[in-house]
């Protein structure tokens, strides 16, 4: 029986080899603070209550920047503290200058009384509509990386980190990032403003509301379709285009509810009139009472479901009606090799009274097979003319934003994956941003730069995603490396990079990169109105 004893012992020994680890894993960019069931995930990068470590709180006038406490924008460091010399009566004008007992500090000067346009808070004269320390009311200080918007503390720019299921806010000008905040149930797909909240459709077919002030989820979640990547808001109406579900939903926002707003579904409209394939809608624009929805179409014969812009009359939001489509197959695509390409529209915007549609011009392998083209549609006549973009700087235009007379176009470019291990994106060329002037002529272009060969160790190529314009600043996301580029549009038409690989300060790492997956998809950017 010795033999079977050995066998039994061996089996028993190996049966109970290491048990797998269990427990909560903090999302990328966050670290567990506390022990056991009391553990919570905290972010050290920009959380003023956990700046660089668990429980390390920044003091008054300080913000947490890259894990260390620094003076907030507008504050000056003096005698170990951050002071606001423009309205602090103990440091008025310069640190250490104390106003007399009967005087107040206004615009850096000790005066006897506040001007009529200012409000007195203690011995400070401030404008409650835009003061980050006294925002809306005395001593109501805005948190890290938020700004005072008409008396309410809000982020200026918000980005959606799809890979990590997070939102991150940002302060314009200072380019300070706030802490990342979990949102929705899985992965956010898009961002759209509605009153004091941001609407965030999720890959799990729910659209949540996040408060603009701190990105905390509020209100109720409403059901949307699959791949709800395009949301247009025109208070009180919200138009959601579900790309994979192939429908348009129209919601009407009502009164306040649970910190957010009631959203009632008024209608859902299938975008296809056949059952022969999916339309794969991409984008939505509105002019008058008509929505314009570019349809990309499916593969093979199902491509015929796309290659057009659907018109939907929403004059009665409870009864939207399809009103024909603008045919994009009439546009000369001028493929590079004479082969077949399709328009494959990716976005549309109403700009200077016309509809502009971004045509990616893809071949059957879904790669750019011709130059990027903008189809310009005369809304009165439906006539389509083509604006061909310089194929040396832009391929596959995917998003359009109208900014005054200028039309901004982001280009996905030609993206190639390595077909050898570990399969990174190895090439992303002819990508970036193109600016057209009021005559549709190119004014300037920008490319992300950075490392150029994804095969190189540590090289995570920049691949442009969506972007937002705030004043003359452009905030452009990176869907591969989770970065945010900040560009300044100059009056002479030029582009100056403020945060990016060409600038002194590199791009902002808005969305953390998962060390195992080595990818971070910053999927959308919103400039908070």
């Amino acid at each position: 029986m010795k033999l079977h004893r050995v066998c039994l012992a061996l089996s028993s020994l190996l049966l109970f080899t290491a048990c797998p680890d269990q427990g909560l894993i903090c999302p990328e960019g966050q670290v567990a603070c506390g022990e056991g069931s009391a553990a919570t995930c905290q972010e050290f990068r920009s959380d003023p209550d956990n700046c660089g470590g668990c429980g390390v709180a920044c003091g008054d006038g300080q913000a947490c920047v890259e894990g260390s406490c620094r003076c907030q924008p507008g504050a000056t460091f003096a005698d170990g503290a951050c002071v606001f010399t423009s309205f602090d009566a103990d440091n008025c004008g310069t640190p250490g200058t104390v106003c007399g007992a009967d005087r107040v500090c206004s615009d850096g000067a000790c005066v006897s009384a506040c001007p009529a346009s200012a409000t007195r808070c203690g011995r400070s004269c401030v404008d409650l509509t835009d003061n980050d320390v006294h925002c809306g009311a005395c001593d109501n200080a805005c948190g890290s990386a938020t700004s005072c918007h008409a008396g309410t503390c809000e982020y200026d720019v918000v980005a959606a980190c799809s890979t990590n299921g997070q939102l991150v806010g940002m302060q314009a000008g200072s380019d300070l990032l706030g802490p990342t905040r979990a949102v929705g149930t899985n992965r956010p797909m898009a961002l759209a403003p509605l009153r004091d909240v941001i609407l965030v459709p999720d890959v799990d077919q729910g659209m949540v509301q996040a408060r603009q002030s701190d990105l905390v989820t509020v209100g109720t979640t409403v059901g949307v379709g699959t791949d709800a990547r395009f949301v247009l808001t025109e208070d009180p109406f919200v138009y959601v285009v579900n790309s994979v579900s192939g429908t348009l939903q129209i919601f009407e926002a009502g009164g306040a509810s649970g910190g957010g707003h009631e959203l009632a579904l008024r209608a859902e409209l299938p975008l296809s009139e056949t059952d022969q394939g999916n339309t794969f809608a991409q984008g939505v624009a509105k002019s008058g009472s008509t929505l314009y929805i570019p349809l990309q179409g499916g593969f093979g014969a199902a491509a015929a479901e796309g290659q057009k812009v659907l018109r939907v009359n929403v004059s009665n939001p409870s009864l939207p009606a399809r009103e024909g489509a603008i045919d994009l197959t009439t546009v000369a695509l001028n493929s590079f090799d004479g082969g077949v390409t399709l328009p494959r529209p990716a976005d549309a915007v109403v700009h200077r009274g016309a509809l502009y549609v971004a045509l990616t011009n893809l071949d059957e392998a879904y790669a750019p097979g011709g130059p990027g083209i903008l189809a310009k549609v005369d809304l009165a006549t439906g006539n389509v003319t083509a604006i061909t973009l310089d194929s040396n700087v832009c391929l596959a235009p995917t998003e359009l934003v109208s900014s005054g007379d200028r039309l901004l176009v982001s280009c996905l470019g030609k993206v190639e994956y390595s077909w050898t291990h570990p399969y990174p994106i190895v090439k992303a060329e002819k990508s970036g941003l193109v600016v057209l002037d009021g005559n549709d002529a190119p004014l300037a272009h920008w490319t992300p730069g950075g490392c150029q060969d994804g095969n190189d160790a540590g090289c995570l190529l920049a691949v442009p995603s969506r972007f937002a314009v705030l004043g003359d600043d452009v905030y452009l996301g990176d869907q591969n490396g989770g970065r945010m580029f900040v560009l300044e549009l100059k009056a002479d038409g030029g582009i100056v990079e403020r945060r990016g690989f060409h600038a002194t300060s590199g791009p902002l790492q808005a969305c953390p990169v998962d060390p195992e997956r080595q990818v971070s998809n910053l999927i959308d950017v919103l400039a908070v109105p």
């Binding site: 079977h4 061996l10 028993s12 797998p20 899985n186 394939g277 869907q479 997956r517």
Partner: protein
């Protein structure tokens, strides 16, 4: 269906899988007894507890199994002991026609100790038709809704001093059933519209040849199998494809020799199989051709030590290779050795069965730049069976199983799916406890099971266009299985199976932590009742499946559904034996979907004629 806490003993010359598990929890499904039912192989397997079937909808469309919560790549499927899992680690059961089979053995619970890498949830062995003695001709013909025709013709006769069986079979279906489509999926109040499934046709044909022969003291057998198929890939209801097509072939040859050597029983087996798959049209703008080839040799030795101990040892080697288009692809070599002991105590009423298997998996060829992975997998198991008398028996098993990443997951890019050569093997610690009772006219068993999984592999979005497999950390699956069968007065017979499944993600970020795993319905049950004499025997079947989640956050789900099937069979003639059967499937015309949006057929009707002729 035979409910079998005790593994059914088989005639020596028909024993295709000598590596039986003396303490395993196994359900044996007698296919020949259910030949009149208009069911395919996967649907028959799904009548066992612990099984959850994933269907693409329609005869001849892809079908896979989840067993005890393990995904389809963690369930091993064999045909007479020959592995059928493909390059992706998954076996498509729609390519295994019922006409080829005698019975199905569904072994529930981790099976790596007995069957190697991939047996996380268990193993299914499909046993081919037995060769009857003498000369016999037999044929089955079925025709039904959606222009579905299934036919088989077979002959058995003595040949070359042995016994041979030749079978040809064919299946075709238009698959153009009507299904309910929701044009406004986010609107809870809208009316559904009826659409017709397009590009859902399938055609499959093939043949099987078996020869059993004795060479001196050695029993030998040969199995040859060939199959050709073509089917439309209709896509999901929301993203239909009018053009995508799949066609393929399967060619297989296997041989076995069993004899006694120095007092030990030696079983030598060899097999070779090659599967060709061509995908074209629709999403596959450039036709994609894959050729998966696998070959293996197994030596299985068993000997008795006294009256209370049986020892077994297995040596096994496999070579798998895949070519994609004209390019040579990766190749994996696998070597395994296992030992098993069977110890009898208390006059044979208590059996202890420890076993241990070591698998070494090594990439013999890999794409340029990719590491050639090597994985060593230890799979121990300890089982016990205790017979209390009166037909009552207790069985229990504890073990560890593994699944090495498949060739596709490791090395092959397919459409929008990228591989990941850094994947770790999946691992499961599993246990079960089963109480069974067998009486003269009834059987029942109740089993509790638990599995702790580590490093499960799942595909995840890899922007901007692709998806890629990653390891996820830890999950647990537990539950209970109940099965019972009874012959009742007045010619009634009742059978039933019920499975309760709990699953939970145990290590993840807050989005997924402690959520249920998708595609694991909490409840699943089936009940069947037969009544009437042989000349007119009716049957009714109820199949229930609870709500199941479709995603890892538990926010999307498929609703519960109940299907009702009715059948009527009549033996029209005795010699030659002719039986006719009419079956109504999904009689309540329930419109439902499976997996991630594949509609299933509504109500359908099928007429089956079977005949067997034995010349005097």
């Amino acid at each position: 269906m035979q409910l079998a806490p005790v593994v059914v003993p088989l005639p020596a010359e028909e024993e295709p899988v000598p590596r039986r598990d003396p303490t395993g929890v196994t359900t044996v499904i007698d296919v020949s007894a259910r030949a009149q039912e208009a069911k395919d192989t996967a649907e028959l397997i799904a009548s066992a507890p612990g099984v959850h079937l994933q269907q693409s909808g329609g005869v001849g469309q892809k079908e896979t199994l989840i067993l005890r919560g393990a995904s389809s790549s963690g369930v091993l499927v064999f045909l007479d002991g020959i592995p059928l899992n493909g390059a992706g680690g998954i076996a498509d059961l729609s390519l295994l026609p019922v006409a080829m089979l005698e019975r199905l053995e569904v072994s529930r619970g981790g099976a790596s100790a007995s069957h190697g890498s991939g047996g996380l949830g268990g193993a299914v062995n499909a046993v081919t038709r037995r060769i009857p003695h003498g000369v016999r001709l037999f044929a089955d013909l079925r025709y039904g809704s959606f222009q579905t025709a299934v036919a088989s013709l077979g002959a058995a006769a003595p040949l070359l001093g042995g016994e041979a069986l030749l079978l040809v079979h064919g299946t075709r279906s238009e698959g153009d059933f009507r299904f309910a489509f929701d044009p406004e999926p986010a609107n809870p109040d809208n009316a559904l519209t009826l659409h017709t499934r397009a590009n859902n046709q399938a055609a499959l044909g093939g043949g099987m040849f078996k020869l059993n022969h004795r060479l001196g003291d050695w029993s030998t057998s040969v199995l040859l199998d060939g199959l050709i198929y073509q089917r439309g890939l209709a896509g999901t209801s929301r993203n239909p494809s009018a053009e995508a097509q799949e066609s393929g072939t399967r060619w297989m040859a296997a041989g076995r020799a069993t004899g006694e050597v120095a007092g030990a029983l030696l079983n030598l087996r060899a097999h070779a199989r090659t599967d060709g798959t061509q995908l074209s049209g629709g999403f596959y703008f450039a036709p994609l051709h894959q050729q998966f080839t696998t070959a293996g040799l197994t030596a299985d030795l068993g000997w008795t030590l006294g009256s209370q101990q049986l020892w077994g040892a297995v040596l096994e080697t496999h070579l798998d290779s895949l070519s994609v288009g004209a390019q040579p692809g990766p190749a994996l070599g696998r070597i395994a050795a296992s030992v098993g002991d069977e110890l009898l105590f208390l006059d044979g009423r208590l059996t202890l069965a420890p076993s241990l298997r070591l698998d070494a998996v090594h990439a013999l060829a890999a794409p340029a730049g990719a590491p050639r992975v090597t994985h060593f997998l230890f799979s121990p198991k300890l089982g016990a069976a205790w017979s209390f008398g009166g037909g009552l028996e207790l069985r229990t098993n504890l073990g560890q199983s593994h699944r090495a990443p498949s060739m596709l997951e490791l090395y092959v890019a397919q459409g929008t799916l990228l591989p990941n050569a850094n994947l770790r093997p999946e691992r499961a610690l599993h246990g079960d406890l089963s109480l069974g009772w067998t009486g003269e006219t009834a059987r029942a068993s109740l089993t509790g099971f638990y599995g702790l999984y580590q490093d499960l592999i799942a595909y995840e979005y890899y922007p901007p266009f692709l998806a890629r497999p990653f390891n996820f950390d830890t999950a647990q699956v537990g539950g209970a299985e109940l099965e019972a069968a009874a012959d009742l007065p007045l010619g009634l017979r009742a059978e039933g199976a019920y499975t309760l499944t709990f699953s939970q993600n145990l290590r993840d970020d807050p989005r997924f932590y402690l959520r249920e795993l998708p595609h694991r319905p909490r409840h699943r049950g089936q009940a069947r009742l037969w009544a009437g004499p042989d000349w007119l025997r009716g049957r009714v079947e109820v199949d229930y499946r609870a709500t199941q989640f479709l995603n890892r956050t538990g926010t999307l789900s498929l609703p519960a559904r109940v299907l009702l099937n009715l059948g009527l069979s009549s033996k029209l003639l005795a010699a030659p034996a002719v039986t006719a059967s009419l079956e109504a499937r999904n009689l309540l015309d329930v419109h439902t979907e499976d997996f991630d949006g594949y509609p299933l057929p509504g109500r359908s009707f099928h007429l089956t004629l079977s005949t067997t002729f034995e010349p005097k």
